[in-house]
Symmetry: C2
DNA sequence: TTCAAAATGTAGTCATTGACAACATTGGAG
DNA sequence: CTCCAATGTTGTCAATGACTACATTTTGAA
C-alpha cells in the first residue's frame, strides 16, 4: 500500500460512474467516493477542484466514449452516408442503455454551464463528428428539402430524446432491454430512413 | 404577521420554481428556500416530507401545467387532428422556453423513480392527453404505415429532446429566443408535417 | 548523485444542509 | 368551550463540500 494511489484520477472517474449508475447523479458524494476507493476525504480535490469539476471530467470522458462508439457503428455500417448516420443514431440509443452513468453525465445540463476547456473540447469533437455525418447524409439524399441546421437539430433531438427516455424507462425495470432496443431502432428509422426511400415505403 | 403562513405549500412550489430557474435544481436548498420565504427552516417539512417530495410536487404541478398548455394550443389549432398534434409539439417547446424550471422538474429522472401517487396521477394524465392526440393524428393520416407505439415514442422523444436542447441552449444566452422558437417549429414540422402531405412536399 | 520543488495524498476544521424530535400556536369540529 | 389536528418553531445531529496546513513521494536539473 503506497502513499500515492498511482492512478487516482482515472479510478475516481470509474467509481463515480459506477455509483451514478446505481444511485443517480445526486447520490454521488465526494467523501463517499473517496471512502469507497480507500483514500482520504480530500484526496479527490487534487484531481478535481470540486464536484462540478468531477462531473465535467465524467462528461468529457462520456462524450469521447460516445463519439468513439458511434464512429465505430458508422464504420460497421459501410459507406452509404445515410446508412452510416442511421447507424449512429441507433448506436446512441445502445450507448445510453449500456452506459447509463456516462450518458447521464453527458446530458447533465448543470455541467455545461461552467464547462471546463477539457469538456468543451470533448463536446465540440462529438458535435463535429455528428454534424459531419448529418451533412454527409443530407448531401446523399436524406431529406434534401430541409436545411442542414434543422435536420441536425431534428435528428440529435430525436436520438437524444429517445435515448434519455429509454435510459430512464430502463431504470424502472418495467421494460425489457430487447424491447426498448427494437423500439429505438424503429424510431431512428423514422428519423433517418435507411434506404433513401423516395415515397411509398417510407419507414418500415 | 401571523404565526401561520396561510398558503405555504403553494408558496414553496412557486419560490422553488423561481430558484430552480435561476440556479438549477441542485442549487435549490430547503433551508435557503425557507429563509427566502421567511419561515423557519423546518416549516417546509410539514408540506413536503423531504427534498424529493418537493421536487415530486413540482413535477406534478409541471405536468399539469404542460398538459393544460398543450391542450389549449391544440384547441387553438382547430379540428384537424394532425394540425392539433403539430400544435401540441410546438407548444411543448414554447413551454420549455417559457417555464424552464417547471420543464426541468418535469424531466428530472430522479423524481420519477420514487414517484408519489400525486405525481403518478399527473404524469398519467399528461401521457394520456398526448397519446390520445397522437392516436387521433395517426388515424387522420399521419404516418399511416407505422404502429402507434413507435409514432408516440418518436414524437415525444423528438419534442422533449428538442425542448430539452433548447431549454439548455437558452440558458447559455448564445441563442436568441426567437431563433430557437423558429428552429423548434421547423423541427416539429418534420416530426408531424402539418398539411398531411402524401409525398413530394414532405416537410416545408 | 543530490536535493529542491512540484505533484500527490492526509488530517483537521468550518459553514451549510437535510432530517429528525420536542415543543408552541392556531383554528375548527364536537 | 374544549380538545385535537394542522401548521409552524427551535434545537440538534450526522454528512457533506470546501478550505487550510502539513506529510510524503516523484521528478528533473545542477
Amino acid at each position: 500500500m503506497t502513499y500515492h494511489h498511482g492512478n487516482l484520477r482515472q479510478t475516481l472517474l470509474e467509481r463515480a460512474a459506477h455509483i451514478i449508475a446505481a444511485q443517480g447523479i445526486d447520490g454521488l458524494s465526494l467523501r463517499a467516493l473517496a471512502r469507497d476507493i480507500g483514500v482520504s476525504h480530500s484526496a479527490p480535490a487534487r484531481h478535481f477542484k470540486d464536484k462540478h469539476a468531477l462531473l465535467a471530467g465524467l462528461a468529457a470522458e462520456a462524450h469521447e466514449k460516445l463519439k468513439n462508439f458511434i464512429s465505430q457503428a458508422a464504420d460497421d455500417a459501410g459507406k452509404d452516408p445515410v446508412a452510416r448516420y442511421n447507424a449512429m443514431g441507433k448506436a446512441t440509443i445502445r450507448f445510453a442503455l449500456a452506459q447509463p452513468a456516462y450518458f447521464k453525465a453527458l446530458q447533465n445540463p448543470e455541467v455545461h454551464q461552467r464547462a471546463s476547456p477539457e469538456l468543451k473540447t470533448a463536446h465540440g469533437a462529438y458535435l463535429d463528428t455528428v454534424k459531419e455525418a448529418a451533412d454527409a447524409a443530407h448531401r446523399a439524399g436524406w431529406n434534401p428539402r430541409e436545411d442542414t441546421m434543422t435536420l441536425f437539430t431534428f435528428s440529435t433531438a430525436a436520438a437524444h430524446g429517445a435515448a434519455t427516455l429509454f435510459s430512464d424507462m430502463f431504470g424502472t425495470n418495467t421494460f425489457a432491454h430487447a424491447d426498448l432496443l427494437a423500439l429505438g431502432e424503429k424510431v431512428i428509422d423514422l428519423v433517418i430512413p435507411p434506404h433513401s426511400s423516395l415515397c411509398s415505403t417510407n419507414g418500415a
